[in-house]
């Protein structure tokens, strides 16, 4: 296990991050416009001073080398847009919010997705199968920028059960988590259904029933472990997608998460912020996939870590 983790970190993670950092560093500077351009023209001398302050007056290769050297010490630099805040600080304050939102969405997606998949697998090609699958498909078909305002309209404006925006109170998590997690309910439901159907027709399940085990034990003690394998494989990318792909939901509900910062950084040409968040997201996705690989071997002894 340790060998696998070390190998994954040094031989795969570090080179991947280096490639991502290099591509991102040069790509963002190709985009027209700079961090200090605005509707009112900036004095050339002031611009020169700002460029000097942030090291943008140096040759690009020098900037790149300096940046990598700083990152190797954990210094992602100051934000160009928020001059008195470092990138590390901004990520440190906003990521926990995105993480919390993503986790709630994931819990919702897993609970309802797995539940719907199990119900559907018990009586395939009947109403009990079609109904939960169809409801789950709503999540894929209705985009978040439609679902979110709909939920706000019903539960925020008409029923007045939840706030329409903000992140101040525990109940503010409900609508955003529902909005974000809904799309993943369908994927997880279908994967669960497929996995469970495969398991339920296995010989060992027939044996378990023949030996007199009740259906609850057959389902949850024997079939579910194998039936969830496809779901576990999906959870890594799903978790990454939920945590990193929440910009639309964060904007609709005004949640102070990292997704909003990321998109705003792109619009503002906040180079250091873009770089920092891209590297952070890349590292997060690699780590989550590593965890998924480890979890899969725990669930399925036939798999080995390489």
């Amino acid at each position: 296990m340790l060998k696998f983790i070390l190998k994954r970190f040094f031989l795969e993670t570090i080179p991947s991050l280096l490639v991502i950092a290099t591509i991102t560093f040069f790509l963002i500077r190709l985009a027209p416009g700079g961090p200090f351009s605005g509707e009112k023209s900036i004095d050339p001398q002031v611009l020169a001073q700002l460029n000097a302050h942030y090291g943008l007056d140096k040759p690009l290769v020098v900037q790149y080398v300096n940046y990598l050297a700083n990152v190797s010490h954990g210094d992602f630099g100051p934000s160009f847009k928020y001059p008195n805040r470092s990138v590390t600080e901004l990520i440190g304050q906003s990521f926990p919010v995105s993480l919390e939102l993503g986790l709630f969405a994931l819990i919702f997606a897993v609970v309802f997705g797995v539940g719907a998949g199990i119900v559907a697998s018990l009586r395939p090609n009947t109403f009990s199968d079609y109904a939960p699958m169809s409801i789950a498909m709503v999540g894929i078909c209705v985009p978040t920028f439609v679902l979110g305002p709909l939920l706000i309209l019903v539960f925020g404006l008409h029923l007045e059960i939840f706030n329409v925006s903000g992140w101040a109170f525990p109940r503010d998590r409900v609508l955003p988590a529902l909005t974000l997690g809904m799309a993943y309910v369908a994927y997880i439901a279908r994967l669960t259904r497929g996995g469970m159907l495969e398991m339920l027709f296995q010989d060992f399940i027939r044996t378990a029933r023949a030996k007199g085990l009740n259906e609850f034990q057959v389902l949850f003690k024997h079939a579910l472990k194998g039936g969830l394998l496809p779901v576990v494989s999906f959870l890594g990318p799903a978790a990454a997608g939920l945590i990193t792909g929440s910009f639309v939901v964060e904007t609709i509900f005004q949640i102070p998460g990292l997704g909003r910062f990321f998109v705003m950084a792109a619009f503002n040409r906040d180079y250091t912020m873009i770089m920092g968040i891209v590297l952070f997201y890349a590292f997060l996705i690699i780590m989550l996939n590593t965890l998924v690989d480890i979890a899969l071997t725990m669930l399925n002894p036939r798999l080995k870590l390489k």
Partner: protein, 550 residues
């Protein structure tokens, strides 16, 4: 088959009961609670870049720091005339070049220290320091030698026209008479900062230090920073050290960075905000019909116009530019598209800018437009070459551009391609004059026609049309030296006449500031600078029928 021991409907029932329970708890809104506690909840669009008066450039930042700091003067929110601020009174020399400000003896910083004249000297020096790289340093260039110091031509700040005679006397010497100077010093670029606090966290001209953080920042305004939760809320509390704190009725201000206009409107509707920054275009008619008491369509010192790249044929022909201008039905745009009380712009400077109003110079005349175009050589046999109309991504800009595209097609048979670019890409294009016609907007930094008309001088940083007119430059220069208001306005009028005859820009409409305000908010007067000193604002209980948008 699974035998269900737990009834299937029970989880559903439990969910409904808990939702109803939550609903029972959630009754008093932030707005209602705020009225009782004199806490004003304001939608403020974006997370502020900083709270440093010498760094910030945006309106949203100004809304916050105008509560934390106070300049030598403030403006009366009803008619924008200068009122005593940190200075209790002042005198002006006969030639209008020397202002002597007498500071309040009871003026204090929020750490209890007195506000003294040398604090202002330090602040102006910091603002003009080349190393700080302040984008608004040019606002102080009316001071003698200020520009030279900022550009590095002089190194000794004592040569700049600001002196502290003693703790309560500040003398400012101007390079030339500036009739609007007393209004100018109410701008955030002239705010004082506390020297000890600045120097505690770095050098005077060091950028991005932590002095504005919660627990560190010191200001001389009616409020102090209490909490700063990034991307969530900035909360200010009343400062007990403010010289006029007994007359400040509000206890707290809460600023929410809600960047989505639809979300902000929903937050207002559900009682989370007293005041919004803006209002979605598609909501104006509904509020007019169903809830006009909360709708505010205030005048605003801003013009919406199109830049014309006069270096690109055939736009280099003034007859073509005039024809394009004459074929725009501005009345229709403000009446049918915008619907927010905007005015068609028949000139460039908004009406009553510092008392100056340009009479209408432009007109909607499609017959004359076609005649001019034909005179310029374009007819049925020689069609006008298609060109592009550039704007940054926005539903409003797109809708207006579509309307004007249709008008030019209908009245002049001119084909226009719409070009939508993301904000920074659009800025790069306009700054480098890589466009044919481009949308632009301009709001005045101060209430004077100079704020609009000095944009178009030769080589002006904001003149992105390539236009140059020596007569225009001379008139603007003369106006800047003139102390007599009537003569000054006459010079501006002549300059604006040239601008509107040559049309390197095509004015479309004068903006309004459209937003929502709870009727409980008092002292939030409509003025063209959207300037609302919080010491005038308070909350009063009102009874009104709560209506929702459909």
């Amino acid at each position: 088959m699974i035998r269900h021991k737990i009834p299937a409907h029970l989880p559903v029932l439990l969910t409904l009961i808990s939702l109803l329970f939550v609903n029972c708890l959630h009754k008093t809104t932030l707005v209602q609670k705020g009225i009782d506690e004199q806490t004003l909840h304001i939608g403020n669009q974006v997370e502020p870049q900083d709270l440093d008066p010498q760094i910030i450039t945006g309106v949203q930042e100004f809304r916050i720091i105008s509560a934390l700091f106070e300049g030598l003067t403030i403006l009366d929110p009803k008619d924008l005339h200068p009122l005593p601020g940190a200075a209790r009174t002042w005198s002006v020399s006969g030639d209008g070049r020397t202002f002597t400000f007498f500071l309040r003896k009871n003026g204090k910083w929020s750490n209890g220290e007195p506000v003294i004249a040398s604090d202002f000297v330090f602040s102006f020096k910091r603002m003009l320091s080349p190393r700080l790289g302040s984008e608004y340093s040019y606002m102080l260039f009316c001071m003698k030698n200020a520009e030279a110091y900022n550009k590095g031509a002089i190194k000794n700040f004592s040569e700049v026209g600001v002196k502290a005679l003693d703790d309560t006397t500040l003398i400012i010497s101007l390079a030339k008479p500036t009739p609007y100077f007393l209004s100018l010093v109410s701008h955030s670029s002239w705010y004082p900062v506390n020297p000890k606090t600045i120097l505690k966290f770095g050098s005077m001209d060091e950028r991005g230090t932590r002095w504005t953080r919660q627990g560190n920042i010191v200001g001389n305004g009616p409020f102090m920073l209490d909490k700063w939760h990034l991307m969530t809320v900035i909360e200010l509390k009343k400062s007990p050290f403010y010289w006029d704190h007994a007359n400040v009725k509000l206890n707290r201000l809460c600023f929410y960075p809600i960047d989505n206009t639809q979300t902000e409107e929903r937050a207002f509707r559900t009682g989370q905000l007293h005041i919004t920054t803006s209002l979605p275009l598609n909501k104006i008619e509904w509020y007019k019909a169903h809830n006009p008491v909360v709708l505010r369509l205030d005048p605003y010192l801003a013009t919406y116009f199109y830049l014309v790249n006069i270096n690109r044929p055939p736009l280099n022909d003034v007859r073509v530019r005039t024809a394009l201008s004459m074929a725009i039905d501005r009345e229709s745009i403000v009446k049918n598209i915008l619907k927010g009380g905007q005015l068609p712009a028949w000139c460039f400077t908004p009406p009553n800018t510092g008392g100056y109003t340009c009479p209408p110079q432009l007109r909607f005349d499609t017959t004359e437009a076609r005649r001019l175009l034909a005179e310029a050589g374009f007819s049925a046999t020689k069609s006008f070459p298609p060109f592009s109309l550039l704007y940054n991504t926005s539903e409003t800009h797109h809708t207006i551009a579509q309307a004007i595209q249709e008008m030019w097609k209908k009245y002049l048979n001119v084909k226009v391609n719409l070009k939508n670019q993301e904000w920074k890409v659009y800025l790069a294009a306009t700054h480098s004059q890589d466009y044919d016609i481009a949308r632009m907007g301009w709001s005045g930094d101060y209430n004077d026609p100079n704020s609009f008309l000095d944009m178009w001088i030769t080589g002006g940083g904001n003149n992105r049309t390539g236009w140059s007119n020596p007569a225009y430059d001379t008139l603007i220069s003369q106006a800047s030296e003139c102390l007599d208001q009537e003569k000054r306005f006459a010079l501006f009028q002549k300059a604006e006449n040239i601008l509107l005859e040559q049309l390197p820009i095509i004015p479309i409409y004068f903006n309004t500031n459209d937003f929502l305000a709870d009727p409980s908010v008092k002292g939030w007067y409509p003025n063209i600078l959207n300037y609302h000193p919080y010491s005038f604002v308070y909350l009063e209980k009102q009874s009104y029928t709560k209506l929702r948008s459909r």
